[in-house]
Subunit: 339 residues, 2 copies
C-alpha cells in the first residue's frame, strides 16, 4: 500500500514531512503486535503458503501504524527527547525550525507537526486494513476487534496521564492502565485480530484472550521491574527512570501499600521521591527500600502466576501445535526478558 | 453506533472524558460536510425513503467525527481558547487540572488529554463508517475517497502550519492550503463520498469534484475576506483576527504581490504587521491599504469566477434536479455569506 500519489498531490513541504514519518516507522521497533496477530492467525489454522497469506500479513502490519501514532503522540505527552536511538519526531521538527530560523516557537512547531503526523499514521493504519485484501467477510469479523483495540489503547493512555497528575496510588489504578495500555493493545487484541481474520471459533478466541491478557500484564510488570532495577547498558534507558518520571506502576503501588502498613517513614520517602529529580544514590536507596518492603517479591510472584495461567490457557486451547510453541516462546521472552 | 460498552469497560476517569468529547461533538457546528455528502448521495439517485438511507446517513455523519479530531487538534496547534462559544477541549481540561490542584502543568495536561481525545474521535470516525450498514460493495467504493479525504486535510493542515512559520508569501502556497485544507475536505470529497456510496458514474463524480473544488476554494476566499473585513457582531470573532494570527491567506498574498510591484512602503508595513499584536486603528489602516491595493477586488473577482464555473459544472451534470437545486443554494450560501 502506498500513499505516495495522494501525498504528492498535496505536495509542497508535505512530501518531505511524510518521508520523515516513513523513516520513523521503518526505523524499527520489535514489531511485537504484528507478530502476535500473525501467529494468532497461524494458530487458528491460517496457511502461510495459502492464497490469503499476503492479505493477512498486510492487515497485521497495520498494527505498526497504530503504534507509530501512539509513540509519536506519547512522546509529545511525555516530553521524550529520543526514541529508537533517534530524536523523537517533535524534537526533530523543532530542530528544523531552529535551523531554518523560522518565525514562532520551535518547540510549538515541532509538537504541531508531530500531532498531525501521528494523525496521519492513524488514518493510514485504517487505510491499510481496508486495502489489505482481506475479504468482506474477514473485514466484518475483524472490525469489532480493530475498533476495541484502538479505543482501549487510547483509554489506557488517558488513564496513564490522568493517574499521574492525580497521584492515584492504588494498585487497582496501576493494574487498569497496565491492562488497557499494554496487555490488551500489545497481545490480547492482536491475537484476537489474527484469530478473527482466520474465522476462529469462540473457544480459541477466549483462550487467546485469556493468554494475551495474562501474558500482557506480566510483560508490563517485568517492564516495571526493569524501569527501576534494569541495567542501563541493557535497557538503553537511564537506571531508575520510572521513579524520576513519576510513573505509577504496580511495583510502586505495592511498595507504598506495604510501607503505609508497616513503615510510615518509608512511605513518606517514597511519596517525596516519586517524580523528583533523583541522583543515583537516591535511586539506589529507593531500590533497596522497594525490595525490603517485599514489593519486588510480590511483583515476581504475580508475573509467575500470570505466566503460568496464560500458558495453561494456551496449552488447553485448540491452536495448532507450531503456533502454540511459537506463542509459548514469545510469552517467555516477554516475561523473562532483561531489556 | 455507541462506543459506550467499550469505554465503560476501560472505565476509571476515561468515562467522564469521553462524555466531554461527546458533548463537544453534539454541541454543534453547521454539519456542512455530512450535508454535502448526503446531498451528493441524493443527487446520484439515492432514495431518502429507501432501505439504504439510514446506513448512508450514518456514513455521512462519520465526517463530523473526523471534523471533531481536526478541530480539537487544530485548537491545540493554534492555541485557541474558545470554540463554538465554549472553552476548547485543551483549555477545559487545563481548568480541571487547576481546579483539582493536581501535580504538573495544567496547560501540558490539557493538551495531552486533547491529543488523546482527538485521536479517539478519528478512530471512531472510522468505526462509524465501518459499522454504518453500507454494504460491502459500497464500502469498497467509498474506501479510496475516505482515505484521500483524511490524507488531504492533514496535508492541508500541515502546509498551513509550515507556511505560517516559513512566512511563504506566494499566492500559490495560500491557494494550495485552501485547496486541501478547505475545498477538498469540506465540499469536494464529501460530495464524492456520497456519490461513491450511491454508485454514481464517472461523469457525475467528475462534475461533483469540479463543483466542490471551485465552490470550496471560493468559500475559503470569502472566509479570508471576513477574517479581515467581517463584522465581529456577525462573525463572532474579533475583527481583523486573521491579520493578528499571521494567517497567510490568498487575500494577504495578493495585497503583498501588488504592494511589492507598486508601493514598497506599503509592502514593508504589511510584512511588519502580519502576526503582530495590532490595535483596532492599525487593523483599520491595513484594511484600507489592502482595499486600495486592489486585493479585495481581485479576491471578489476570483470568488465570482469560481462560483460561476462551479455552478456551471453542477448545471451540466446528471445530478437529479432537487439535489441540484439544493447544492446551488448551499454553494451560494457558502460563497455569499457574511458570517
Amino acid at each position: 500500500m502506498s500513499r505516495r500519489p495522494l501525498t504528492d498531490a498535496v505536495g509542497g513541504t508535505f512530501t518531505p514531512a511524510v518521508a520523515a514519518l516513513e523513516a520513523f516507522v521503518l526505523r524499527g521497533g520489535k514489531r511485537v503486535r504484528p507478530a502476535f496477530a500473525w501467529t494468532g492467525w497461524l494458530g487458528a489454522g491460517g496457511d502461510p503458503a495459502g492464497p490469503d497469506a499476503a492479505a493477512v500479513l498486510r492487515a497485521c502490519s497495520a498494527l505498526e501504524l497504530v503504534q507509530a501514532c501512539a509513540l509519536v503522540h506519547d512522546d509529545i505527552i511525555d516530553s521524550s527527547r529520543t526514541r529508537r536511538g533517534h530524536p523523537t519526531l517533535h524534537v526533530e521538527f523543532a530542530a528544523q525550525h531552529r535551523a531554518g530560523d523560522w518565525s514562532g516557537e520551535p518547540a510549538k512547531f515541532g509538537e504541531s507537526i508531530a500531532i498531525l503526523l501521528g494523525d496521519l499514521a492513524l488514518s493510514w493504519a485504517d487505510d491499510m486494513i481496508r486495502e489489505s485484501g482481506v475479504d468482506a467477510a474477514g473485514q466484518v469479523r475483524l472490525g469489532p476487534v480493530w475498533s476495541a483495540m484502538r479505543t482501549e489503547v487510547l483509554g489506557g493512555q488517558y488513564l496513564d496521564v490522568s493517574t499521574e497528575v492525580t497521584a492515584d496510588e492504588s494498585v487497582a489504578a496501576a493494574l487498569r492502565i497496565n491492562r488497557y495500555k499494554t496487555a490488551a493493545y500489545t497481545i490480547e487484541r492482536p491475537l484476537h485480530l489474527g484469530a478473527a481474520v482466520a474465522g476462529a471459533d469462540a473457544d480459541l478466541i477466549d483462550a487467546y484472550r485469556e493468554f494475551g491478557t495474562d501474558i500482557g500484564i506480566a510483560f508490563q510488570l517485568r517492564d516495571d521491574l526493569l524501569g527501576v532495577f534494569g541495567d542501563p547498558a541493557v535497557t538503553g534507558k537511564p537506571s531508575g527512570d520510572d521513579l524520576r518520571e513519576g510513573k505509577r506502576t504496580v511495583l510502586f503501588a505495592e511498595a507504598l501499600l506495604r510501607a503505609d502498613a508497616t513503615d510510615p517513614a518509608a512511605a513518606e520517602l517514597l511519596r517525596r521521591s516519586i517524580g523528583a529529580d533523583l541522583g543515583e544514590d537516591q535511586v539506589e536507596r529507593l531500590r533497596g527500600l522497594i525490595t525490603d518492603l517485599g514489593a519486588v517479591d510480590e511483583v515476581e510472584r504475580r508475573i509467575a502466576e500470570l505466566t503460568a495461567s496464560g500458558l495453561r490457557a494456551l496449552d488447553d486451547s485448540s491452536a495448532v501445535p507450531a503456533a502454540k510453541a511459537g506463542l509459548r516462546e514469545m510469552a517467555l521472552a516477554a516475561t523473562r526478558r532483561s531489556a
